[in-house]
Symmetry: C2
Subunit: 189 residues, 2 copies
């Protein structure tokens, strides 16, 4: 019983985790991943993304029998029909999800048992930027505030440490903070 | 019939659009928006974001009777149970959705009738970064490639122009390319 509890911590199989880390250390080519999204416009602010295949751990991953889909929209006040979370909210979701998963994995690796992790995120935007009304405002959020509430069987100090560590290793936190090179091609023939 | 066709272009009410732009120009305080997401950890790589209220156009928006939710997960090879698109895929979705909506709005404003907009996005990542195995790799994507396929009742030149303009005005494109200041607070008592 004790062994089972320790093997799976925070819902993460720690034996598999350390096995994965060892495998990538032994063969670094396994670390190369490529994630992909296809998006289709439906009408107005309504469009839908699909995510299924990706490349990683040395092969094309075909484990998902169906794609995940996420619908996007805009509320009425931004000229849409509220067909889904808007793209700025989707970005906050990506950030929240990545920080949370990284935090949970770090805690699992360090023997910290979590009981609850919640976060709220806020992003401030003056839409005069993205609507093209003023060049004094950027198109995106001026600032994002993340507030975590973390509970677990560990001293407060240790819980704060895993949140710190998550910021140092989260893929989306890195991208949102530091930016990424993006190329855009168009085929319109 | 002609009037109706022209009023709603690409599923966007252009009269409402120009009315909104005029209203914000007349009272710039209407341009201040705040978007919010709440995220709750479920187990392992599974967590869920909710988006409902936001502030904008001079008031707290209460038009959504239910929150949107987006589940996050990781595939088995990244220690999850595939409970949803992973956070890196969610970021690509946010980018695809924002570029697409911006492009559709720009086209509506400029009198370009679109018939199809599709995009595929790819992001390359060496997970030795985010797994903490090597400091030679960043945590996030090294690069993101976006490929648009745009069709509409306009010359190719004009279609390319709306994609160019979308890049100049998309909120998420700005954030992903240029980064955003992010603060993280923790409550762990």
């Amino acid at each position: 019983m004790t062994r089972i509890t320790e093997k799976v911590r925070n819902g993460v199989d720690t034996e598999q985790m350390f096995g994965t880390l060892d495998a990538i250390t032994a063969d670094p080519s396994l670390g190369a991943f490529q994630f992909r999204v296809s998006n289709e416009w439906i009408a107005g602010a309504h469009n839908r993304s699909s995510m299924q295949r990706f490349y990683g751990a040395g092969q094309e991953d075909t484990s998902r029998s169906e794609p995940f889909t996420i619908d996007a929209g805009e509320p009425a006040v931004l000229l849409g029909n509220d067909t889904g979370a808007n793209p700025a909210e989707a970005l906050l979701h990506a950030l929240a999800a990545c920080l949370t998963t990284t935090l949970v994995y770090v805690a699992a690796a360090r023997g910290v048992r979590l009981t609850a992790v919640e976060s709220t995120l806020e992003g401030d935007m003056d839409v005069r930027g993205c609507l093209g009304l003023s060049d004094d405002y950027r198109n995106g959020f001026e600032q994002i505030r993340v507030s975590f509430r973390v509970r677990g069987d560990a001293p407060e100090e240790k819980l704060r440490e895993v949140v710190e560590r998550a910021q140092l290793r989260s893929a989306v936190f890195d991208m949102v903070r530091n930016g990424v090179a993006v190329t855009v091609d168009v085929e319109s023939a």
